[in-house]
């Protein structure tokens, strides 16, 4: 495949970035998108140029590190996959591919396509956990969990915190991420003890960090690589109302 890449290059967080065009030839359609970027970087290094910096880790679609906004869509043109699982066969020979970093005030660009998503960690630190005293492991069936709730909690827990929801939302809202993290506990008995404090503190932190407000366009759900449902946002709103009123 012959491609033209337009990639956002930015020296550091304080620099003004710009798009740089790179022609690329002999790319296999079976390459993953990140492998294609690896090939580009090898060529840049051979030419004594700075390679393109981008986030990646497991390359198995489970770590949530990759974060590229490709041709107007987070994680590119395929549905329900992360960039590392995106293959070049989803593009056509001769395509121009524009690659941008996630854009949101709480996700500052560190360098090139790498963004700082520690804002998500700060939200999790506010209550995205349950407090359990150390000791002997309890019998798993001591606390019974309904099958339906167990499934829904597992679906919510599938969120890998990549930030595609924020990147896709026209308001840079983090509601899908926060709601998934709240739902996975709200649906289980173990999460009830700290439920009220959890939702209040996590929402407060989400607002403080400067994420936008949800306006129900559901772009987050459409672009989530783990298919997190917007019903989690409704659940979070219910949890929040109950925590505030009751």
């Amino acid at each position: 495949m012959k491609l033209t890449l337009k990639i956002w290059r930015q020296k550091d967080a304080k620099s003004t970035g710009k798009f740089v065009t790179y022609p690329l030839d002999n790319i296999s359609p079976n390459c993953s998108f990140l492998e294609m970027l690896d090939i580009l970087n090898e060529q840049l290094i051979r030419k004594n140029e700075e390679p393109v910096v981008f986030d990646h880790d497991c390359r198995e679609g489970i770590c949530g590190m990759c974060s590229l906004y490709i041709n107007g869509r987070p994680h590119g043109p395929d549905d329900a996959v992360t960039v590392c699982q995106l293959h070049m066969r989803k593009f056509s020979d001769g395509d121009t591919i524009v690659v941008e970093p996630w854009r949101a005030k709480p996700f500052p660009v560190v360098r090139d396509l790498m963004v700082d998503r520690s804002a998500f960690d700060r939200i999790i630190q506010e209550g995205g956990y349950i407090s359990v005293n150390t000791g002997g492991a309890a019998e798993a069936n001591n606390i019974l969990v309904g099958k339906e709730n167990a499934e829904l909690a597992m679906d919510a827990a599938a969120c890998i915190g990549c930030g595609a929801c924020v990147a896709a939302c026209k308001n840079a809202s983090a509601m899908l991420f926060v709601s998934a993290k709240i739902s996975q506990f709200a649906l289980l008995p173990q999460g009830q003890v700290e439920a009220k404090q959890r939702v209040k503190k996590m929402v407060r932190m989400m607002d403080e960090l400067g994420f936008g407000n949800c306006t129900n366009t559901y772009a987050c759900e459409a672009e989530c690589p783990k298919l997190i449902s917007r019903s989690n946002i409704a659940r979070m709103n219910r949890e929040f109302m109950c925590a505030k009123v009751i």
Partner: protein, 223 residues
């Protein structure tokens, strides 16, 4: 000005937006009922009686204050939320977002803004006359503003009627997204109810604006 209101959590503001929006949607049905009285060929007797009742009944007067406060709060919250949303992404993407989203869901602030402009015109033509803020030569024998004559005069103007029709189409788009979004915000999202909420929203967004649109068409083309 006390700006502590803006510091309410994002969800609190959205919940208020949803409650107020649904309240305004109920009022819109009442307003439509009164407006449809214009279609009766009775010289405006029903319409004038309804306008008199709305203008003099004490319970309605209390609701009028609630309605106005609700409307202003809905607009104010909408603007606050939108400004926060713009600030949340100071650097825009070069490529326009290509994510598939419901039609016009991204443009609620704009459709809402267009409806607001129309409402200002509407207030000048009707409500401010009732308040005595705008002079009016059309009076009933009882000394009240003759809203029937004012309405007929306005609907006889093709430009006003066309503007009225276009704006109610815009309002229809606003309401279609607003209805299901309000329930989602209030936490009502369940497979058992989602289809009904979506269908009822579409039904409401078509039938209510259409009811308003019929009136200028009747005065322009039939009468």
């Amino acid at each position: 000005m006390n700006l502590s209101f803006i510091r309410f959590s994002s969800i609190t503001k959205k919940i208020w937006m949803a409650f107020l929006g649904l309240f305004l949607m109920i009022f819109l049905v009442v307003h439509l009922g009164i407006n449809l009285c214009l279609l009766r060929d009775d010289g405006g007797a029903w319409f004038t009686a309804a306008a008199h009742f709305m203008g003099t009944n004490y319970i309605i007067k209390v609701f009028e204050i609630v309605l106005f406060a609700g409307f202003i709060l809905h607009v104010f919250l909408g603007i606050v939320l939108q400004v926060q949303n713009w600030l949340a992404r100071p650097v825009r993407y070069m490529v326009t977002n290509k994510t598939t989203t419901p039609f016009l869901s991204k443009y609620m602030i704009y459709t809402g803004g267009i409806v607001l402009v129309f409402l200002v015109i509407h207030f000048i033509n009707f409500y401010f006359i009732k308040m005595g803020l705008v002079s009016n030569p059309n009076m009933t024998p009882e000394g009240e503003p003759d809203f029937y004559t004012i309405a007929i005069q306005l609907f006889s103007m093709p430009a006003y009627s066309l503007l009225y029709i276009v704006l109610f189409i815009v309002l229809g788009f606003h309401l279609n997204q607003a209805f299901q979004a309000a329930w989602q915000t209030l936490g009502v999202n369940h497979l058992q109810y989602n289809a009904f909420i979506r269908r009822f929203g579409i039904f409401y967004a078509i039938v209510v604006p259409l009811g308003f649109i019929i009136i200028p068409i009747y005065f322009l083309l039939i009468r």
